[in-house]
Every structure is written in C-alpha cells, then in structure tokens.
Symmetry: D2
Amino acid sequence: MSGNTFGALFRVTTFGESHGPVIGCVIDGCPPGLPLAAADIQTDLDRRKPGTSRHVTQRRETDEVEILSGVFDAETTGAPIAFLIHNRDQRSRDYGNIADAFRPGHADYAWWQKYGVRDYRGGGRASARETAARVAAGAVARKWLAERFGIVIRGYLAQLGDLPIAFESWDEVDRNPFFAPNAEVVPGLEARLDELRRAGDSSGARINIVAGNMPVGWGEPVFDRLDADIAHAMMSINAVKGIEIGAGFAAVSQSGSQHGDELTPDGFLSNHAGGVLGGVSTGQDILVSLAVKPTPSIRIARRTIDRAGAPMTIGTEGRHDPCVGIRAVPVAEAMLALTLIDHALRWRAQCGDVHTITPHIAGLSPEGWQTTPPPRRK
Amino acid sequence: MSGNTFGALFRVTTFGESHGPVIGCVIDGCPPGLPLAAADIQTDLDRRKPGTSRHVTQRRETDEVEILSGVFDAETTGAPIAFLIHNRDQRSRDYGNIADAFRPGHADYAWWQKYGVRDYRGGGRASARETAARVAAGAVARKWLAERFGIVIRGYLAQLGDLPIAFESWDEVDRNPFFAPNAEVVPGLEARLDELRRAGDSSGARINIVAGNMPVGWGEPVFDRLDADIAHAMMSINAVKGIEIGAGFAAVSQSGSQHGDELTPDGFLSNHAGGVLGGVSTGQDILVSLAVKPTPSIRIARRTIDRAGAPMTIGTEGRHDPCVGIRAVPVAEAMLALTLIDHALRWRAQCGDVHTITPHIAGLSPEGWQTTPPPRRK
Amino acid sequence: MSGNTFGALFRVTTFGESHGPVIGCVIDGCPPGLPLAAADIQTDLDRRKPGTSRHVTQRRETDEVEILSGVFDAETTGAPIAFLIHNRDQRSRDYGNIADAFRPGHADYAWWQKYGVRDYRGGGRASARETAARVAAGAVARKWLAERFGIVIRGYLAQLGDLPIAFESWDEVDRNPFFAPNAEVVPGLEARLDELRRAGDSSGARINIVAGNMPVGWGEPVFDRLDADIAHAMMSINAVKGIEIGAGFAAVSQSGSQHGDELTPDGFLSNHAGGVLGGVSTGQDILVSLAVKPTPSIRIARRTIDRAGAPMTIGTEGRHDPCVGIRAVPVAEAMLALTLIDHALRWRAQCGDVHTITPHIAGLSPEGWQTTPPPRRK
Amino acid sequence: MSGNTFGALFRVTTFGESHGPVIGCVIDGCPPGLPLAAADIQTDLDRRKPGTSRHVTQRRETDEVEILSGVFDAETTGAPIAFLIHNRDQRSRDYGNIADAFRPGHADYAWWQKYGVRDYRGGGRASARETAARVAAGAVARKWLAERFGIVIRGYLAQLGDLPIAFESWDEVDRNPFFAPNAEVVPGLEARLDELRRAGDSSGARINIVAGNMPVGWGEPVFDRLDADIAHAMMSINAVKGIEIGAGFAAVSQSGSQHGDELTPDGFLSNHAGGVLGGVSTGQDILVSLAVKPTPSIRIARRTIDRAGAPMTIGTEGRHDPCVGIRAVPVAEAMLALTLIDHALRWRAQCGDVHTITPHIAGLSPEGWQTTPPPRRK
C-alpha cells in the first residue's frame, strides 16, 4: 500500500513515469452498464493536454487513451477498467545535472532519501504527467455522476500570482487557455505569463472547483467526511498547498450568526458550508478552493546540494508550465469527481434504502444559483 | 466502512455519542513494547477537557480514560488497545426543539436525510465530544513518536475572529486557557469571549500545528502523500473549513524563485514547503494551519425548517464553547500524531531498510529553528 | 492494521483478552434503521457460552452483552455499534509455568517471537474467548440478513474424532449440548467426551455450516470471491485447519460431468458448487465444512522449551473444552453471517441497481431442499 | 472495491479478459532496490503457459511479459510496477451458444445475474487466463522473499482424479508436464488424460504447496492470520473447492496428544500445524493442500437454461485443460508468495524491531527436513 490507489469503492490505481513508455490507471469497482468509449475520456484529457498554448509546457503529447479491459459492447462490465496513455515525447536529453542533484521545491531530495533509487528522467513518478491518468479515471466518474444524478463538476482559475480573476461566466472558461471565467482578464494573463517565461520564473495560482446538483447524504462521519476526503484528494495533486471548503479561511473572522447557513423551505439562504455539514453533503453546491504553488522547475539558478551533500547551484531548462495551477483545473475537477463517485457508492451500500418525510432542499433555485459559484469567489 | 476508522496501519476506530454512556476508541496496530499507562493519556485529555475555564463549555466531565485491553505489565502487547471515557454529565433536559428541527451550521439536516434516524441528544455522534477519543489515541501515537524519533508536536491559537495572535513563545501556550503563544493578548481574548457569550454568538479561529524533529522519507506518493493525509486528518475535525501546509494560500502570489526552499549542507534555507515535498517529509518541521469555523450552537435565533419541511426559528441554549477553535488545538495535535505514526509504520514496511550516502539535512539548526514555528506564522 | 478487523463495508473490530476486564467489538458500517436490542444478541451468545454442560469448559461466564453506542430508540443509527462483554470469571491462579514456557499446539511460541511481550493469562488475546465478540457482531449481521433477505444460517457437528454424525434434522441441533443433528448419536458423544476428559486428552471435529435462501450475485471476482472470503473468515477461527466449499476435497476424484451442477428452469439439479460459482453466489445454499483441530490445552505432559530455549515438559491444567469444535458451531455461523452481510453491502454499492430478464433459480424447491444440507454431508 | 486487488501492503491489482487485448497487473508497495528484469518473471510465466504439452490447453500464447513502470536501471523504485501480457491467440470463432446460455459449473449464470452484462468470449474475466497476471506478480514476490529471507516456495500435483501421487523428489517436479514429484506415475497420468480428452470429460486434482526456510512471526491475529490469508489467497484461484493447512481434515480424527507439535531445542518434532500457530508463522514449513475441481468446460452435453430461462443443452468445444489442477500449481505458488510478502511487510511495519532472547527453532534440520514436504503428503 504505497499510496497509488485512490478511493474505497471506486478505486483508481495509477502507474507510470514521465519518461517511461506509458502513464496508465486501473479503475476497480465501476458500476456495470455505463456506456463508455475512449471519446468520453478524450475530451477531458484534451483539456489537460500539454502544448495547447504557448502558456503551458511545449511537450508534444497526443494523450490518446487506450482502453484495455472492463468494457464490452461499449458498456462497462463491472470488471476493472485499465487505461494506457503512451508517452510519445520523451525527448532525449542530458539529465546529468538532475540525476545527481536535488532541485529546490521538488520531490527529488525527499524521494531519494526515502527510496535510495530514483527515476530522475523528467521527474519520473513525481511528474505532473501522472495526473493525466487521474483525468482519464475522473472522466468515467464524471460521466456516471452526470447520468445517474445530473451532477455537474466545473472549475476555473480564480487568481494568478497577485492577479485576482473575477468570476463572470462559466461559458468563458473553455474559451481561453487559462480556464479563466472572464474574457477581460485574458490579455493581462497572457502578458504576465510571457513575462514569467522571459524571466525564467513561475507563478502560483488559486483555482476554484464547484459541483452542482448534488444529492443530500453523501459522506461518512467521522473520519471519512466528504470534505475530509475532498481535502485528501486535492492535497494529493502536485503543488497544492492549501484547501478551502466553502468559506474556508474567511470563517476565521466570521461570527456564528454570520457563518451558519439558515434553512428555509426554498433552500439554504447562503453556502458558507460549501455544501458539506457534519461531513455529509447537504444538497448545496460543493465549493472547493485550492492554492497551487509556483512551478518549482525554473531557469533561475538556485542553491542546492548534490547526492554527496556538497553545495552547488541548479537551474532547470526545459518545457515547463510557468504556472502549473492552470492545467491543474481539469485535474482538480477529476479528483472531485473521483471523490464523489466513491461516496455515492458508499452511500448506496449503507444507506441506499433510507427514505425520510423531509423534503430535499438545496440552494436558492429561482436564480439558478445552484450551479453557479457563490459571491465570495468572485 | 462508514468512516469511523483513521489510518492504514495504526488504525484508530472511535465510537460513542455525546449523551450515550461512553466515548471510546480501539487502536489496532500499535507496536508492542511501548510503556503505556492511563496517565500518559490523561495529560493530553486534560488539555482538551471541558470546564477548565469560563471560556469553554461548562459541561462537567472528568474525562478519565480506562484502558480495557492491549496493555500487559505496563507495556503494549501489539493487540488492540481499547479505551473508554465515560460521559458523566449528560444533563437531563428537554430536547424537544432539537429533536424535531435542524440547527443551522450543524450536521442535523444532512445526517437526518442520510440515515433517517438521529441521536439528537447533544449532537450525538456529530458532537465535538467524539474528539476526546482522538486525543486519547493521539497520546499513544505521540508517545511512540517521541520515544523512537524524538518528534515533538505542538500547536497554538494563531487568530481568534479578527484578532491575530503573534507567536512569542511555546512556553506561554499552556499558561493560558486559549493555547495562545503570547501573554499580552490574553486579556484581549478574555474580553472578546466574554462579549461573545453575552451576545449569544460565537467566533472562528485559526490554529497552527507544528511537528519538529521530523525524519526524512515519510509519506506515500501519489495519493497518500503525507500532506494529503494530514489534510484528510485535519478536515475530519469538526468545524475545520480550511487547511494550509507551509506557505499555504500565500503560495498563490509567490514566484517560483521565492517559494522553492533552497538546500545547503547546513539545511534548507526556508520552509515554504511546510516540511513536505512530493508528498514525502523532508526532515524540516511540518507546518499546518487550520481555519475553524465559529461554533454553530448559538443563542441567537435563526431560521430553519422542521422535519416536515415547515419554516421555524431556533436558538441553542446550553453550555457551548463560544469558540470551538480553542479546544481544537489538542485535537489537531492528536490528528497530526496519528497521521505521522501511520506513515512511520508505512515507511518501515516498504522502505525501512533503505540507506543512502546523502546526509540528512533539516532546518537552520544553529538557531534551534527546527522546532519553532516559521516567521510567516507570527 | 494488525488484523483485528473483519470486513470491507460491515467492519467488525474485536478487542480484549481472556483475563482482561472485557471482550468487546465495534461494528462500523451497519445500515441504519435495524431494530436492535441486547436480547437479539444474547440468544446467540448463550449458544456459545461456556459452562452450559459438563462437556465444555466450566469457566463461569454470564456473557451478558452491553451496547455502548450506535443504537437510539431501539434502532441502529448508522454510527459505530460498540459492545462489551465483561469477563467475570478470571479465576486467580498461578500462571508461572505457562508464563515461561510454550504450550505445544498453542500460539505461545510464535506470538512471543513476534511481539516480544505476551499476555499469557488464559491465552490472552489468542484465547477462544475472543470469539464471543464475533458471535455478538454476527448476531447483528444475521438479523439484518434475515429481515432483508430471509437468509437462514445454521450449523451442526458433523463428526467428532472418528465418530461421523449423520444429519437427521435441524430441529435436533439445539436440543443437545453438541449441536448434533441427530438424537441417536448423543449418548455416544457423551461417552467419548467423558473418556477424553478422564484421559486428559482432546478431540478434533468437523462442523458444517449452511446458509439458505441466498440471493444470486454476491461476491467480488477475482480476489474477493464469496468463497475466498468465507475461507478467510473460517480459517480465522481458532483451531480451524481445513475448509471445504460444496463438494470440497471430494471434487478431486470427480469428473467434470459429475461435478458441474446442471441448471433447469426449476433450479440447479445438484449443489457440488456449494452455492458459489466464479466467486459469486448462485442462489443455492452456501455449504461450508470445517476441520477443527483438537484442543491443544491437555493434561497429558508434553515436551517443549522455555523462554531461554531449554527443554522441559508441560501439561495444562484448567477448565478447557475437550473438543473446541463443538462451541465453534455458533462462531462459524457468525463468521458466515459477517461475510454475507459484507458482500450484501458490496453488491448493493456496485450492482444494486442491476436487473436482468433472466429468472432467479435456486435448488429443487418442491422438496424444500433449499435450506437443508446436501446428501454428501449426511 | 470490486475485489481485483490482493494484499494489504504489497498490493496486486489484476485486469484484463481472456479475449481482450491484454492481461495485466499493477503491483503497488514493492520495496525499492530489488533487481528486476522481465526474465525474472518469464521463468514463472513459462511454467504456467498454455500449449506446453498435449495435456493442457492448446491455445498458443507466448505469454511474454512487458514491464511498463516501476523499474529504473534494472531495479524497482518503490513506484507501482505495471505488467502487460498480450493475448495473441484470441481465435476468432462463433460464440453464439455461449453468449446466450450458462455453462454448468461456470461463472456464467451468477455473473450475468450480478452484472447484467457479460464478456462471454472465452470466459472473459472469469477465465483462468487471469491467473497469468498473478504468476507475474508472484514472481516479484518470490524473488524478494528468496533474496531477503531465503524462502523457497514449491508445489506439486499430489492426486489426479482417484490416482494418488506419492512424493518422491522435488527434482522430478519440473521434468514432466504434470508437476508430478514422481517419475513412475507419469505414464499413468498421460494415459488418464488421453482418456479424458477422448471422452470429452475432465478431472479434479489435489495439489500441495510448501514454503520452506520461513521466519517466525509473520501473520496478524485475529482475523488476518497467516493461514486465514493463505486460505483467502488459495480459494480465490479458479476452481479451488477445499483447503488444508498442515494436518487439515486429518485433524478431525486426531487427539490433542497426537496433533500438537512438540518443541525441542532442535526444533519442532512434527508439523501438523503446517507452520502456523495462532495465525502466526512458527518457522516451520508452510504446508498447504488444495482441492481443484474438474474443468467445467467439457464436450459432453449437459442441461442448462438460456438467458430467457428456457431449458436447453450445452457442450463446450474448444481448447480446454482436461485438468485445470495441473496448471494451478504455479498459480498457487504465486498466491502463496503474494501472501507471504504481504505479511513480511506487515510484520516489518509493526514488529520489525522486536528481539527476544529465545532462539528461533524450526524443523529437524539435520535431515534437511525443513524444505521437504512432511510425511503426510507422500
């Protein structure tokens, strides 16, 4: 159990290194009878794919997914679903420096001391390339959640460095290479990224993820609360350093009479909880916000030590994203989908036959607020 | 698997309701040969205990722990260790209102819809009283971590509402009822809490937790990263809404050349990573910061619905903490201890025989910085 | 994860030593809304209880179960259910010999070498007394299986030493202290056990367990097959050395045309499979047969070594069952119930909404064959 | 968690169908630093490979393994190791009959009712072809166990139908296509299998598996006993219907004074326990015996029903093993290896630092008995 599996019932195991032949995953526990084709997965993979604009890594990958098992006559069979994504662009190069030294901000030093052996090529297993497998698995989860429950999972870039990005519209998100929900900020983002690239530096980001049309009752108290598993899922994404559910750190300076979301027959009157109370979904939107640290692979030379412990300096040439937070949007959406499907199945196992006389309420439906982000995020 | 177990190898299962006869837990997987007596656990329990000052709930509990199994001749045997903590003060009262309605900010509505049955007395299983069992289990973990590795886990209140609390000294933390690391702020905190109590309202808080003298190499990429499991652990604590590791949300506006911690033969030159890179401990201090929402049980009447869905208002009388964040300090320390011991055992299973020629480095040892909180937290 | 938990979704964790204050367990994952009182559990506990006849251990235990949590208003709430059974008769005695030496056929030597510390009093955690907790948990499982699916789980003694016991009637099983399904063999069993007691020796046994009214579709290929999990469950009972499902070892000398159970619209024509094909229940009776070794605690002196490795002889005085196989019947029934409920929940999670046009078939219903044991067992 | 993963710490997840493009597996948790090449695995795969004699299925497969990840510079890195084995000989044929009907003795009916969708081609996921992936994973486990502990795992055919096979020599086992430990029985086995093939029928078998040079202390009481996990592992192999550890069902008619293995400074005097007491390894050989049912795919026509529930008859043409027990030998060895490595890591996690003054004893070493099968098996 060295940690490459996510989920209790919908279990995703990923494998593969950045410069090995493939990245892949196996999903165990997918319900049978879900229509599934490679095209369903490809859409999500394409959103995460490198090389789509000059603002992300220029590594050339088609990221075509191959389904090896678990699907028959275009339907899932309940057997494990294995995916492969071939690594086409493992550009041959001299790794000498990286092989022997530890890049600041990278897994290098800690993994070396842990394992005593290290596939240093392109970061090996620590590379963000591993997240392609998560996106593929997440696409299956997302499809099932949409078909059975109508759940919609979406994300966007909310801040890049010190540039906040006001939420304007979901429609805008897929029209620019930044997942920015606002057309006006796009020129500013382009300028900032060009500047970072010239400087050989990188930037952090905040991204927000929302799941709408949620059912009530998902999440397992007390340790496997829905929000705890979401936190686990999100913090398992490379470079994430902070997580908020609902009000998040704003709750620190709220009073109880401000924070607690009142209930009415028409729905909750606010969503400071972010859709989870007592670890269980309330039916409101799930609201998650993430801090993504700046890409550690930068050209600027920095101090480090080599394997023998001697001091040296190191800068990383190569085709790195100046802001890994951007391409983290589809990855975080996938991780939320994987968390939700897992809890859907856990709910069904223990409580799938529970009924109460109490009506299900959600957010303030008249405005269609349910699947839009809350005011705080703007 | 309805979520009442924490940990993969050092597994803690808690049980019990706020107004049932007991709160308890079972630890499975504790290494044998650890000297253990009830007194080792009582110290930690006493720090979390209600009724210790007028600023926390006035429920009267002795919180004496009883060890039922797993210890023989004052040593752990490797068998499961069961603890009981009796609930002495289940004050008899009229729950009528709470039984039939859903308190805003509480688990009530979501749990009722999930389970169709609800032990409403004092919050039942959703009560923060459940965390007493976590503290008891955490005390065992903490003792083993200290004896085998010298690890020190400490926490403090960093902000109450909009009052930031500058870190002055660890010595101060246990000298006031707020776990405040600074004597000067104490009168201000007292005034604030008295005011909240009078107003029948409550306040959020930020707390910081630090683990010092960490070994390198704990944490399992890619999903069970040390930081991901810490996030899971922390978000599983009642009322936590946000988590930061190291720089946390400050990383959003950092550049790569600011954020990435440089390495030297004398140690890392900063700790924006919070002691974890690539999901694996680096040997630096683990730095965790939490947002705790304001107590939802307040006297101020608020809108809600009853079980039939009809509108009503509800205020919560009773002996509630005006700021649950305060007593969350020992709970969060316990959860960090439980996460660390679990990863210590996981590390030992897979990698316990790995050795490298590379020296272990940590923080800037000359100043004794290693076990003190980083500047950012002040 | 030192192995004191059984089940993936209906998780039972047991704790307690033979001569500690209690034996207990925690069930996590029980569906909510199941009516449950201590009396439901007591019936099963009483069947396993020591001291019920001169043919089992004379330890005096009331084995009264106390429910600590997870039940409110006489219904399960979905929260963990904790049970305690107090050890009343920890007769004070001199353990000197046992403390320092390893009894042949016992866990003593292996556990000592593993843990380096040992609660030798009455076998500590290795005592069959631990199985009381399994029976208590099994009673909950059995009740849910009966209420939701009409499943009936029963067992009987099929052989004692070299005395085979022909199956006559389920009605007889609870009318004698041996769980023998046949009144005529009872005098012979009494004589044999009296003889063993006089000789200070013990005997092995075969027991058969049957689950009737099974649904089709429970069990998870390929590793968590229903029969694999049953084998796990049964071999985890103290003293079990062999397991058969359906034809068992008789299948070795069968041909394919004899073994494979034919299907007809009226049901399967035989049950060599024992109710499981491809790891999944077929709807026929689950048939399990177990070999239970003779009690290792016997008066006859035998060779062993002490803790320093020096040779010595040891005989065990005390109140031991001359045939542990007898009281293993309710324990094995409980373990089958625990395995089935776990797979019921797993089935519900992944496949609970699957429907086919194919009718469910089972055994030859006209004769009521479905819940009686197959010919081979007689 | 639909059951395609084996192991708690050394976790093997298999995937793939008989007539899909590949069979494969992912190993998560392999210790780093183990030298590993495809050739290490190929040896074991070749022993299980179809088409090696006229007595096993004539399906033509090269069964060449491809390592996709987790190995760098010929060493394991601690990252997940993925294997693929391509299915080359998915002979195109008419599956009409099998697609619509349920073969007696097969998974067909139960899986169809469970999943509502079925990859019927060659048995799909229920095919014994899945076991190739287990053998590949087992080869890694076996290598580590041999290198770190000197453990030797071997198996042989002990009975075919009603022909018992006396154990003569381990050397003989790999000299004939039956894994028979005795040259004299080979002509008789050939005659029997030719006869079965002509008759269109099949035969059951008994196989024995032995692990020698075992350390003391592996296995986790009370549910995850080493023998319980071995039983789980073995019963998860297609067609296994019975399992014995040590004396197995012979223990039913033994007395305590016969069964309990006496200890001396030179070792245990017998091995009725089969190397496990109280669920923990004693250091003696692990002895496991399995009943394998006759291949259900036979030419002889038998009664069944179709998907609509209507009666029909079915015979299975094709290239099936007349005795699946033969090729189950390397599979059972692999499953024992996987169980042992998992417990090796679990032992290391909790108890790896335990030392006692008591010498380790095993079997009667002068005769080299330790790694030979016990008398009972002959």
